[in-house]
Symmetry: C2
Subunit: 573 residues, 2 copies
């Protein structure tokens, strides 16, 4: 009597493993004729996309790829090396439908890094955009030479009418299978199966590895399901959204929006190359409602020549920005242009963004500058991330919510990765004390919102004081002549380290005669904005090196600052 | 080597049991000062609500209620007998935060049914609205007399300034603890714990039991989490929604919108009693954006005297209707009044609605009648329900998508209950062959949308032909004199059964002299709308008996039709 309220067990009727794969089946049922994907003159419906993904899974399975086909007990990786084209979108469903794990490769990596990734993940199939075939060939050569685990993968090449056909012909001559032929060989009615266990891996993505070897972040079906819905919920992104692929899909699976778009039966607009002109043109042509972009891309949109823009915007466009802390000036300039910006933050290890600076209506009436400053904070956790805090990781105690005490951002919950592939040491560090350690340093404000002050490795320690490079950058971005800015530590004879600013100017390169004047002007400008010990002691003009995702490569700038030698006690800029 | 892509295990950082309880913690963090609940002159913020719920859990725990405190291995039930007031909302978080299971009791049941439920679930705590205290006392008396498992539960009474204070005084004189005092005794900072296992039960709700004893539907944390987010996603219900509680929270936990509102940091507007005037007044006063209601409530809104309405609506109001198949005429009348209606369908066993008639833009240009007809279908599955079909349950084969072959609606996935409490036989039937059997009969249209034709038990079998009572009702609703209609089987000498129509007129009761004329007119009207064997052979005027959730009680009408005796071969109405 009364013994069974918790005894009611799982059965086929009341339990299914969570997986985003069901989203596609639903989209194809509910809106079979709605446009799913547009790429140049290509247009697919959700019916097509579902059929193509099932063909993809079926063809992989015909090649003995997928669940049940194991190599050393590991489920087989399918690596895709492609920009934002339909095949990469299709891989997000087709590959896991076969039971295999999708490894999306950053196309801006060089051959030796790609060789490292392929050798590390033991990719069995490579699906390569024709433009990146030679790069892939080179990577395979390096892998085969350097490693004794090399086994030639199946090569599939994706043709694109927007590219020079030579590339495709070359790949075919080398024995690669054409992607469309590969799909043709598969069954459009293939009876794919959801994973037995939602903890099963769905995707593998490598961190940029600016400080060490790239680490393979492994994600599972459960997390992909929850985070792709979470990303819609925090953004208020509804059924039928028209989404522009400015953010690379190879970056955290497009922050999970690949799967979200199927859940919302929306429309994907592909973009091979992101330029301000192409973004504005796509917004106008396809009535784009949403896109994601790193702050650096927003900066490009803001500073585009008027003839490339379509301002004022003909309809509301929602922008989700993350990938680096956006300077408040970038947020406010976007808002002025009519974009509705949400600011989110996360890492590859958290399926992309997992915090949002949730807007409060009471901020509406604040002056623009104050608004932008509040909005530039990293905010609060996603609905689908259960824990977020800023901690002193020595004591594992939360920092006081005083807006000044710096600690490390830690997270926990279903929005955190399974772990790093074949890297027990990194896993131990990342998951120490039951929290995921982000490596980002932040403060917690009195309203509970967190704000990043720096990556642990980017903080500048000058005379034993911590200086946030981000705060200096935010100030620099408000200087009228500066397009982009990045601040790193430069060795300093007196202080140990001092801030060194690298800046790109709006009007391009200056005459060397003017550099000195402008540098002095910038330093003077900084004095009005920050404590004197924060003021950069050196200013360097030029183009900033960036990763494929638009992140400025501070490691390279740090190396450059080191090369410049220490700031001398007696020196003067 | 390559062996660990699926070996990466769960740990405290990367895995948490899914539960809607986190939504409340998040709402209190993100929008502590936003209004969470309004009831008359009472107003709470999310900060208050979180504190009150933690007090609730803490106070329960002080009374040895909750997880760890077990009776015969069952976790303890807390039953709430109350209309839509703040305490019932708070119970949705406070009770499971203590580890106990929430049993919301339908306040329109009589004492003997309530006695059955309490005895069946072995409720240890009763939280009772002052207006329902006497009813509860009576139920306890019956329980104590009828059963040998009676153990007096802890009695907590909820005062309400909107009620006669006598009721509260009486309850206190009988030793009940006042709800506010009970909360006072709890710790507002109580360190509640999420469930260890997301399969843990969160809520228990009894079916109306029109055909048999009420069955106790047990729901779990995982399902509550997924369905409450699913309900937001399919409705396009975003952050900050203002939700009016027309639908009773005791009905499938308010279709999970109790928890959804916390996820969205929205505002709950309570309503003790649902009248057209009160609904329209609340819409105007609180800028209500969303509410749910059975079609019968919509009918009341449509037919309200103009002075009770606020038409045209001052802002967009979204309505989710379910609970019975809405006649197309009701949907179109609501749309004409400016409400944006979504039509959903589900059962207590599926956490409330789990299918939606997803709107297609291509329907926009259809004539209103055609539009309403398409929209009156039950549609497609929620994002959070993984399987939906119409099957011949003898063969377990899907019916053809021809819009005419009738089968049973079956469902599977995370939106299906754990099972019925202490009812193995019912569980076996409900989950036969790996699908949940809804007991609803439907067809599948060529576009994959399902449409209910009847409850299995409501179908009329006349001369071996199935007649859908719903289709006849839909026709009756379009008759200008009819406010409400319900059709059931009446014994028939010639045909076995024939349709008998019970109708309520818009202008109230007729003179008996006019009844005959109107009945003939209605029958004539039906002849123009349906095959002749569908046309009701009898028409009965009067008020229709309804359940607390606005469902017409066909079992009572069937009994009445039976009492009327068989339609005679020679009879004429």
């Amino acid at each position: 009597m009364g013994s069974d309220i918790d005894d009611l067990g799982k059965n086929d009727a009341n339990y299914t493993a969570l997986t985003p794969l069901w989203f596609l089946e639903r989209a194809a049922t509910v809106h079979p004729n709605r446009t799913s994907l547009v790429h140049g003159s290509w247009r697919y419906t959700w019916h097509h996309t579902y059929q193509r993904c099932r063909r993809f899974a079926s063809a992989l399975s015909n090649h003995s790829i997928g669940l049940g086909h194991t190599v050393h007990m590991a489920r087989v990786q399918v690596a895709v090396i492609a920009p934002n084209i339909p095949a990469l979108y299709e891989a997000h469903f087709g590959v896991p439908m076969s039971g295999a794990v999708l490894n999306t490769v950053n196309i801006r990596l060089n051959a030796s890094v790609i060789a490292f990734l392929l050798g590390h993940s033991l990719a069995s199939v490579l699906v390569v955009d024709q433009e990146f075939f030679s790069l892939t060939e080179e990577a395979l050569k390096i892998w085969s030479k350097k490693s004794n685990n090399f086994k030639p993968p199946i090569l599939i090449v994706i043709g694109d009418e927007n590219c020079d056909p030579k590339g495709l012909r070359y790949a075919l001559s080398k024995g690669a299978i054409e992607y469309e032929n590969f799909l043709e060989s598969g069954d459009p009615e293939y009876a794919w199966k959801p994973p037995k266990d939602e903890w099963q891996s769905i995707a593998l993505g490598y961190t940029s590895g600016t400080t060490s070897s790239p680490k393979g972040v492994v994600l599972h079906h459960r997390g992909a399901y929850l985070m792709s819905l979470g990303g819609a919920l925090v953004w208020g992104m509804n059924e039928g959204a028209v989404y522009l692929w400015t953010l690379p899909m190879f970056h955290c699976n497009g922050w999970c929006y690949t799967w979200t778009l199927a859940a919302l039966c929306g429309t994907n607009i592909c973009l091979r190359q992101v330029t301000a002109k192409a973004v504005y043109a796509a917004i106008a042509k396809y009535k784009v409602t949403h896109f994601c972009a790193a702050p650096i891309v927003l900066n490009t949109l803001i500073n585009a020549p008027p003839e490339e823009t379509i301002l004022p915007l003909p309809h509301v466009v929602h922008v989700n920005t993350a990938g680096a802390a956006p300077p408040p000036s970038v947020i406010s300039a976007m808002s002025e242009r009519g974009f509705r910006v949400i600011h989110t933050y996360g890492l590859s290890e958290t399926y992309g963004p997992s915090t949002i600076c949730a807007w409060k209506p009471e901020w509406d009436s604040l002056p623009p500058e104050k608004k932008a400053k509040l909005h530039a904070r990293q905010g609060v956790r996603y609905i689908s991330l259960e824990g977020l805090d800023v901690m002193n990781t020595k004591t594992m105690q939360p920092v006081p919510a005083d807006g000044t005490t710096i600690g490390e951002i830690v997270m926990r919950g279903n929005g955190v990765m399974k772990g790093y592939l074949k890297n027990p040491k990194a896993n131990e560090e990342a998951f120490a004390n039951g929290w995921f350690h982000s490596g980002d340093l932040a403060v917690k404000h009195s309203d509970g919102y967190i704000e990043i002050k720096d990556r642990s490795k980017d903080i500048i320690i000058s005379g034993a004081e911590n200086i946030s490079s981000v705060e200096i950058e935010n100030a620099l971005y408000s200087h009228p002549a500066i397009l982009e800015a990045s601040v790193v530590a430069r060795p300093d004879e007196k202080w140990g380290e001092s801030p060194c600013a690298f800046v790109t100017l709006k009007n391009g390169v200056l005459d060397s005669g003017n550099e000195q004047n402008l540098a002095e002007d910038i330093i003077k400008f900084c004095r009005t904005k920050m404590p004197s010990y924060w003021v950069p002691k050196s200013v360097v003009f030029g183009t900033l090196p960036k990763t494929s995702t638009g992140k400025i490569q501070k490691n390279l700038l740090r190396a450059k600052a080191k090369e410049m030698g220490p700031v001398k006690i007696i020196s003067k800029l």
